[in-house]
Amino acid sequence: MKLTVWTYEGPPHVGAMRVATAMKGLHYVLHAPQGDTYADLLFTMIERRNHRPPVTYTTFQARDLGSDTAHLFKSACLEAYERFKPEAILVGASCTAELIQDDPGGMSETLGLPVPAIPLELPSYQRKENFGADEAFFQIVKTLARPVEKTSHVTANLIGPTALGFRHRDDITELTALLSDMGIGVNVVAPYDATPRDIARLGAAHFNVLMYPETAETAARYLEREFGQPYTKTIPIGVGATRDFVSEIAKITGRNAALEEARLRMPWYSASVDSTYLTGKRVFLFGDGTHVAACARVARDEMGFEVVGMGCYNREQARLIRGLAKEFGVDPLITDDYLEVERRIEELAPEMILGTQMERHIGKRLGIPCAVISAPVHVQDFPARYSPQMGIEGANVIFDTWVHPLVMGLEEHLLTMFREDFEFHDDAGASHHGGKAKLREMGITEPETPAESVDMTTSGPVEIVWLPAAEKELKKIPFFVRGKAKRNTETYATERGVAEISVDTLYEAKAHYAR
């Protein structure tokens, strides 16, 4: 058993629901107890879909346990077919139904449905949501994709976007336009808005754009093997990656690499003097492997940040993140335990977090600005406005999104200059943040009385004591760099065996770490 409060990913059948809900003309019959329908509201509320997810739950209850549940499953399948007349049916079990071993796959075969029934084996006690999505999409492709003639002009499939995907809707639009600028058409987008009939035509494309490896890599590999379709390896998030992506497509198709850059504002914004204060901002990245890897590059090469840590929650991408972390010279963090993420963030005391909804809350607790770069996300990250992450416009969106939570350059200087000012004191927080930053969790406690020295040791075997004057001085440092200053000073003191931190120690450490 594993004690869990927050989960980055849902169970695998939710992943399968993401695929089913993304598609049209497909129905998912899920052998599941009453209550599992809670997952519907992820789609109707967070993503604000205007229809119910195409999922029928058998909703068995305690009194049904025994032979009755198999019967329930069969009648649910038949009724779902009669009512919705889908082109294909997905059948599977949720975690509880997995335990009662009714074998939805076997049962659906005996029903004689006039449409393909695709059984899903999703090991709920070993794997998670992303696996469920990847596996469901793979099984759909494997069952439905047929050998077909290639289109006469060059086309690609966009594969991977699902329901409840972080910015999937707009990424599709952006990439479709980008391909069109190169004279490449889109054959099928899948699973997003695809029908089973569309899936059958996947083979007609010349290559595949694998948008999100988390949800479609297995299918991409299968299509490469079975239909000889190469798939793209670059994720076009950020300016550099988008250019690489275009070159990769040029290589696959033999067309000229053409990128329409008239709307690309991000490089100039980043180069303009107003952005100088972004230089060396220490950022920590966490999320799904794909977004973290892509954003790490943007952070370092396009924003001029210093990446001080990175990690992902999906172990499927652990190798990618480990390799990248090595290249960046940081420790990778592969975990699905948010407390571990929180500990690492506290330890690193970054100036900014790029993460998920969870990191946003960690940032709020620690008083560190945060921008969201990856699922899981809440309703505000399914915006009404156009906001892709990929391609040209994606780069513009990323620049705005990441800069917004940071204290603006001038404000940063004013805070340093007038740090004891009654209106501009550091506990007031940045003017545009709304709420007041709380610093307790950073280990910075208010001194009880100014005369008393407070033990503020957070690490190291030696007891380090902050002398009252030094502590007062520390409090004068703007809140957004104070955590780092405190940590640096303590490290500096520990390394030199200094047990008491004075104002001098503070400034010696500052000089030592100056950059």
């Binding site: 058993m1 990913e9 169970p11 209550g35 809670y38 992820l42 205007n50 909703t59």
Partner: protein, 428 residues
Amino acid sequence: MTDRFAPPPSKGCSATPVLKERGQHEVFCGLTGIIWLHRKMQDAFFLVVGSRTCAHLLQSAAGVMIFAEPRFATAILEETDLAGLADAQVEIDRVVTELLERRPDIKQLFLVGSCPSEVIKLDLATAAERLSAQFAPSVRVLSYSGSGIETTFTQGEDACLAAMVPVLPKTDARELLLVGALPDVVEEQAVGLLEAMGIGPIRVLPAPGRDSEYGIGPNTVYALTQPFLTDTHEALQRRGARHLAAPFPFGEEGTTQWLWTIAREFGVSAEKFAEVTDAPRARARKAVSQASEALNGRSVFFFPDSQLEIPLARFLTRECGMQAVEVGAPFIHRAVMSPDMDLLAEGPVIAEGQDVDKQLDRCRTARPDLTVCGLGLANPLEAEGLTTKWAIELVFTPVHFYEQAGDLAGLFSRPVRRRDLLKLEAAE
């Protein structure tokens, strides 16, 4: 005391044949009760023994609250736990020990059963007994089931409270017990009104902490504040306590009748009752009539969710002038529900259980002015042009008793007013 009300209907819907359906249920399981119960019992921790799905459900239902060091968590079953049952008990001990070390402030721990733990027949009752002995006296460990195969949404609170009743000490004192987790502000109002009539001592279940618990015995009388507390009702009767049957305290009429039932039991005079209640009654009437303007003459359709549906339909039809088309409830307990059913005029379909697709068909045919339903159905129905009120808010918002009567009507009238206000189509 029922003057100034519309007379009770000549024929209530107690005798109406109930449409019993089974099929796909679009409802929450009992685990969701944890979300509000843990706020109410501040020394309690709720440990669900279940799967990742259970953890994901709590996270989805708890919304933003999950980040405020909540006093609930899930022990997620892993492959190895499914292999052999003996291990599972050892694992529970390990997880609980780890948890209690981290949270020494916890005085009551609930082991909450889920579908997976029930299906593999994991004996949580025995685990609770063993752990209670191990951690006594500082921590009491109880168990109940919040599984979807056994409980629907608010029934989770019922299962939890019913698990607490047997361990309360015995007493012969004549005490009034109010049963049901209410928001603090509402609970204080209820207790305040009753105390002003000279009634006491008053106890509440759940008590805010183990320290403030009391005894139960043959002289205990109790009133339910929530309709879904049927197992708790039966557990209390087994301890010899006596039920005061009343309509549930929604709206002015419900609150007055509920209070009057208790007042009569404690020999409060009609004059004293009027002295205490006249002013808040007048306030409630005024607030309801203002807030319910948009509802007058409109029709309402209830999908099953919380068992609050029948009392709320009674409030909406009798105090807000609405017409009920169908009132669906996940479960109807006659003894508990009959005072409300007697007041709800015959006419609407009374449905118990659900076959969601068939019920949706009935709803589309009826095209009610307002549909009360869960979040999985609300936006899809709005997209079809129906106005909806999502039901879960009725459990999470203070809605009981006089001062909230206007807010309660407001919860239903807001979506109707919004539908009238928005003009999103292009001008002709």
